[in-house]
């Protein structure tokens, strides 16, 4: 066991291991990213996750925008501002209008159109005149618009108006109109085959007129052609960007892993170390305790407990720690017993050196490297356990977790719909987050507890 290693030689040997160094680099990157996330994405942003209304302007369930490089035509969201409102206000009322030109060169329609008027005062009516490249126009009116509201194609009056338009064109009856059909109406050529036609590419224009009471004033409003792709990781069916979820989930995963591991490893090692050190009845009692906890089925226990108490990061970490420490206690006890058999321990006693002092001089330095190695390995296990629990719906509320995202993906049939980005990125993150710990942990383990190779 003693090969005469000092801290420095441990470090040197660790650096010789390629996987260990790679792991260490990844670990530093991971921690740096987590720190950045913790600072840059404040809780308020995270809370928005649970509030679907925030994301209405985002395309829902769309792939990452880089798919455009791979030949998929999936335009990103294009936003246009309506400025330069012309019009006037008089004693009888006010009316303003503004126009914006929109160039559309895609073979697919946007996934939605969002109009957000911004004004002060009372408005009676809002009219949109939509001009297609072939010159045909579509007109939609809304009554009593509210400033700041995002009006999308699912807004009933708009939906109905476009439905009317389609019926006029196709000369047939439609009971319901889907957003896809609404978009077809807006982008395809007029005619009876409007719903089956192809998207016209060219210049469109949108003219918005707001009529209201005296004192109405209109400020910058916007028209968004919500795209078919978004960001680096796409969105879920609520329009929430997966990249936000992935980043925001990192600190939580790491915190859970580190806290639970530190407590279970250090606690376990001390418990086992003392049991081995004392011997006698103390050892018997402590070992019995270790085995009892070891026998508890961890996952079932956590699931059961989650029904009785509200889980937070801290208590979930504590519960996981409370179930994981026995393994480390057993190893630590064995190591301690083998140290105790060494003559230098007896020599200490013969010199009247106190047991405590002996523990710190001879036992602790030998247990520390093992502790560090085990902590690293344990973290990866806890991360995966935490995400598994979240996936099962067990975990603290108001926290974004990758498991939680995967849970939502299953609920909303992401695989069935072919929304691969929804499951891929959170899934990869779970691996990416635990990998560095595994690499570092195994490298440390090899340095700290070299196995005897068969001759």
């Amino acid at each position: 066991m003693d090969t005469g290693k000092t801290e420095r030689s441990y470090a040197r040997e660790f650096l010789k291991s390629r996987s260990g160094v790679v792991g260490l680099v990844l670990l530093v990157l991971l921690l740096a990213t987590s720190l950045y996330v913790a600072i840059a994405i404040p809780q308020s942003e995270a809370y928005k996750w649970d509030n679907p209304s925030v994301w209405t302007n985002n395309p829902a369930a769309v792939p990452p925008s880089w798919v455009n490089y791979f030949g998929v035509d999936a335009p990103q969201t294009a936003s246009f501002t309506l400025q330069g409102w012309s019009g006037s206000s008089s004693s009888s009322g006010a009316a303003y209008s503004s126009s914006v030109a929109i160039d559309w060169n895609h073979a697919v329609t946007p996934s939605n159109i969002v109009l957000t008027p911004n004004f002060s005062g009372t408005a009676y009516e809002l009219e949109v005149l939509w001009t297609k490249p072939d010159g045909n126009t579509v007109q939609v009116s809304l009554s009593s618009p509210v400033s700041g509201t995002s009006y999308t194609l699912s807004y009933t009056p708009i939906n109905q108006a476009l439905g009317q338009y389609i019926q006029t064109q196709t000369k047939s009856y439609l009971s319901e109109v889907s957003p896809a059909q609404e978009l077809a109406a807006l982008f395809n050529r007029d005619g009876p085959g409007i719903l089956n036609g192809s998207v016209q590419q060219g210049s469109y224009s949108a003219t918005v007129q707001i009529v209201g009471a005296t004192g109405l004033s209109v400020s910058t409003s916007s028209v968004s052609l919500v795209g078919d792709s978004y960001g680096t990781m796409g969105t879920d069916s609520f329009g929430r960007p997966i990249e936000l979820g992935v980043l925001a989930g990192l600190p939580w995963a790491l915190e859970l892993g580190i806290i639970a591991s530190l407590i279970s490893v250090i606690g376990g090692i001390i418990w086992g170390g003392l049991a081995g050190f004392y011997g006698g009845w103390r050892d018997k009692v402590m070992s019995w305790g270790t085995l009892v906890i070891l026998a508890v089925p961890g996952l079932a226990f956590i699931i059961a407990i989650s029904y009785s108490i509200q889980l937070t990061l801290l208590n979930e970490a504590l519960i996981i720690a409370a179930l994981s420490w026995p393994g480390f206690a057993i190893i630590s006890r064995t190591v301690t017993l083998s140290i105790r058999a060494q003559a230098y321990v007896e020599a200490d006693r013969a010199m009247g050196i106190s047991s405590t002092r002996t523990f710190f001089t001879h036992f602790l330095p030998r247990l520390t490297p093992v502790t560090i190695a085990f902590t690293a390995l344990s973290i990866s296990g806890v991360i995966i356990l935490g995400e598994t629990l979240s996936f099962l719906g067990i975990g603290p509320g108001n926290v974004i977790t990758w498991g939680g995202i995967l849970n939502a993906a299953i609920t909303f049939d992401a695989s069935l719909h072919g929304w691969w980005w929804w499951t891929l990125f959170p899934g990869i993150m779970i691996v990416v987050a635990s990998m560095p710990f595994v690499l570092v942990g195994f490298a440390l383990d090899r340095v700290v507890a070299p196995r005897v190779t068969a001759k």
Binding site: D2, G4, Y344, A350, M351, G352, I353, R357, H362
Partner: protein, 336 residues
């Protein structure tokens, strides 16, 4: 079991530092579901150690020599009988507890057999020496430094070595540190448990010289445990031959080696190799029956009789007591 001679009659009363009175140390093996066996490691030993003398305990494995050594300094408790530290008044070593036991550590020390495991290899030499000093209550840096310098010189090592880690030292150097560590206490009696048996021949001499020197110059008494008669001859003032927990013969080293009395001693001396190429084709005759005795066997009468070529009826029935056959030279045998 008859008592051995009453305490005091085996040894002269001159300046003794340790007195062992009819000491017995028994260990029980097994128990609960296994058959209980009793190992009588030490079974009725009385002797005295004088200040500054080197008394060798010679015997094979199972003779009880190591147990006797550890009991002599209080690392093992007696089952019956007593050990007294007589350096300054009289203190019972076997029953000492707590603070008293700890104070005795200053006077009673031990050097271990294996220099590779008796000193923690992962420490700096300086710490390996500093920590025992601090356990004695010496805290001042100057005093610690001075004492360490002193013992390093006494064991013949350069003081710069204290900056090295123990694992960087050779076996011989480590054993010297083991001795240095013990000398820090200014002990009155040191048990040396086979201190050279794990060292190469070229290193033995130096260790034995250090021990010899400490004994003569600094009046440190040594209980020198060994299985090797030749080593005992080289270093000891007196030799005690042990067999199955009892002393078979004890006397001045020269007398025991050149004029052995006990058949067991004679057999051991016959078996000890010397540099003698002329016997290479001869079968060396050793006057003894069989090989090692089991430490769990308890023959009646004289413990040696099953292996003794001269065993008589009385040997099987009664245990012989130590008798002075020559000046200072005692033997426990019915032949005398």
């Amino acid at each position: 079991m008859e008592k051995t001679l009453p305490a005091g009659s085996t040894e002269a009363q001159t300046d003794g530092v340790l007195r062992i009175d009819d000491l017995r140390v028994f260990f029980t093996k097994g128990g609960f579901l296994d058959k209980v066996t009793v190992v009588k490691a030490v079974d009725g030993v009385s002797l005295r150690v004088r200040r500054g003398e080197i008394l060798a305990l010679v015997g094979e494995s199972g003779s009880g020599k190591t147990t006797l050594g550890k009991a002599a300094i209080g690392l093992t408790r007696p089952t019956s009988g007593a050990v007294y530290l007589t350096d300054d008044g009289e203190e019972n070593v076997g029953t000492a507890k707590g603070g008293q036991w700890k104070r005795m550590r200053k006077k009673l020390q031990i050097i271990f057999q294996d220099p590779f495991s008796s000193i923690d290899p992962n420490m700096r030499v300086y710490d390996a020496l500093r920590i025992p000093l601090m356990a004695q209550g010496i805290k001042s840096k100057e005093e610690i430094h001075a004492k360490i310098e002193d013992v390093m010189k006494r064991v013949g090592l350069r003081s710069q070595i204290v900056n090295n880690y123990v694992f960087q030292l050779s076996g011989g150097q480590r054993q010297r540190i083991g001795i240095a560590r013990v000398l820090l206490f200014d002990p009155v009696l040191v048990v040396a448990d086979e201190p050279v048996s794990m060292l190469d021949a070229s290193l033995k001499g130096d260790i034995l010289h250090i021990i010899g020197n400490e004994s003569k110059a600094n009046k440190v008494a040594f209980l020198f445990i060994t299985h090797d008669m030749a080593v005992a001859k080289v270093v000891a003032d007196r030799i005690a031959v042990m067999y199955l927990g009892k002393i078979a013969e004890i006397g001045p080293a020269e007398s025991v080696i050149l004029e052995p009395l006990h058949p067991y001693t004679k057999a051991m001396l016959q078996a000890s190799p010397v540099i003698d190429p002329s016997v290479k084709d001869e079968i060396i005759k050793v006057n003894i029956i069989g090989e090692l005795a089991q430490s769990t066997s308890h023959p009646t009468g004289c413990k040696f009789h099953p292996r003794c070529p001269y065993a008589m009826d009385v040997c099987k029935q009664k245990e012989p007591l130590l008798q002075e056959v020559k000046p200072g030279h005692f033997v426990a045998c019915w032949l005398y």
